[in-house]
Symmetry: C2
Subunit: 365 residues, 2 copies
Amino acid sequence: MRRNTETIRSIARDPATGIVTIIDQTQLPHRFVLVPLTSMAQAAHAIRAMLVRGAPLIGATAAYGVALAMRADPSDGALAGSLDVLGRTRPTAVNLMWAFARMRDALARLSPSARPDAAMALADAIAEEDVALCRAMGAHGVALIDSIARRKAGRVNILTHCNAGALATVDIGTATAPIYAALDKGLDIHVWVDETRPRNQGASLTAFELLSAGVPHTVIPDNTGGHLMRQGLVDLVIVGTDRVAANGDVANKIGTYLKALAARDNGVPFYVALPSPTLDLTLASGDLIPIEERGGEEVSHMSGLTAQGTIETVRVVPDGSPVANFGFDVTPARLVTGLITERGVIAANRTALVAAFGDRESRAA
Amino acid sequence: MRRNTETIRSIARDPATGIVTIIDQTQLPHRFVLVPLTSMAQAAHAIRAMLVRGAPLIGATAAYGVALAMRADPSDGALAGSLDVLGRTRPTAVNLMWAFARMRDALARLSPSARPDAAMALADAIAEEDVALCRAMGAHGVALIDSIARRKAGRVNILTHCNAGALATVDIGTATAPIYAALDKGLDIHVWVDETRPRNQGASLTAFELLSAGVPHTVIPDNTGGHLMRQGLVDLVIVGTDRVAANGDVANKIGTYLKALAARDNGVPFYVALPSPTLDLTLASGDLIPIEERGGEEVSHMSGLTAQGTIETVRVVPDGSPVANFGFDVTPARLVTGLITERGVIAANRTALVAAFGDRESRAA
């Protein structure tokens, strides 16, 4: 992400010291804290407790987690154990499985002594590839924004849900890649940021990184987007995704489906930024994507900054009222205008997906 | 509302002492505090600061506010002044205008000395009428729940948004009237309660009153309803309304429109509980309903109970990020399955509304 004049990656390995560092996203937007990861257990905790989140960043963190495991013990048992522990941290993220397949395939054929360096180099490569994918998505997606800017007076209003930003990836983001590219191109843009309950990744993370980068934006309750679209105040929607099925159905943060319905009802284009590691051609339909249920305290409690400058957690639901916390929903492909991928903007259907990415079909096996 | 074995009205005048008392809803669900209203200024503050909210309860509180003004000064000037001050407290609530028209028409023709008693008696009557309206809506609406209960196995799942409950009215509620009637009838029901950001009236108020009354319920983030409907976990939606236009368009708490879209997409019946004072036949369409914009701190901050038992307000948006806070949205009549009124369940269109309530058309003039 951009911070003052610097770029700070969401996960980075210092080439000199070899230390892997993440941004502790649970402390954003109130405190900016960098945390070193020195063991596989710390990487697993970082994923499970959502110090890092976002499908691409989870994939990169898991890859570094395997590499850290190999540094401590490069045996076959440790390799299998690390894949097992890290694999159970977040069930919905397909990137994690994909990063694992690459790590396992590459490392299993090496002698234990060769594994530590190879694992770290491969984790670095996975991180660099993510940056390159996001840059390519930005280049393709910015054309959509530019085309709206050419035919309307005034700023282009983009609505996004959750955080598919720099903080969800190694850098730049997926849904935000076209936004940062538009900023660099000098286009007049403004972003409506869904706060994204229950974890508030929009208010906490997307707003934070857009503010840091100087992108005009406004935070809104998740309930607001439909009204804005009815008023003509949204020109396009761009969201990220945790998994796309072969038929173009999109799993993303809970509430995405509602925005897709509103976009369709108001003729607003609805785009999903999809780096190909998030595509799962082995799943015929979005109905087969497992939906993670998370702890109820994410709904019943909220954390924030007090007037005294401390971070406090408060209960917002009556003691005694049950809560439910589904992490994701599935937006049917029929509601998706297009998928912004690293190979161009394509239709959300099997034909287009296989044409663009069929060569990678065996990858998730 | 039901509390233990008692019924406590959201606004009540003690017949013996003449004291008007409200429940301070800003302290719910953590503290149950009754507040006496002894002046028009206190009534205006209670409406403006949302100690009371909900269209019917705002109307009743405004009527008592005029009566309190008359008790202090029954002159023509004080009458006009009280209508002016109270009329500017909440622009979207049509009930307030309707209560005013009745108060003004009745009081203007009386001598000042006759006004204090007449005003209080009329405010009492407006409150009693609201209770009767809600009971009638409950009787009509429970038939919809009963009909679903007869054709499906297991409990009937009802989704509601915001609080159109006992706490939004003098008693029983509008959207909740059929739910309480179903409970009394012994039907197996469960209510999905949208938390309803930014003010959390669902989590704070609806959950609180359902918990108090013993109605099975689950609090969910506003993002969740679409997923639940796709999973077949919602049998019907019942919401309240702040104003219904002559064509059946419904203004209600921001986010209602998104749930109506999801209901339509999944074949789930979407009902709006409409007491006729909330109907505005002078407005041709919902597009003419003014949408209140409220303070940004409702979005940027949240209040709740700390582990230490104090109520604390925390910031949940980065300092420096702008926010927007639209209070309501308009759900087009085409998405509304039916209107639950005190005169039966009717279609959401001009023909049905005029047939049912045309005799009251001149009322809001």
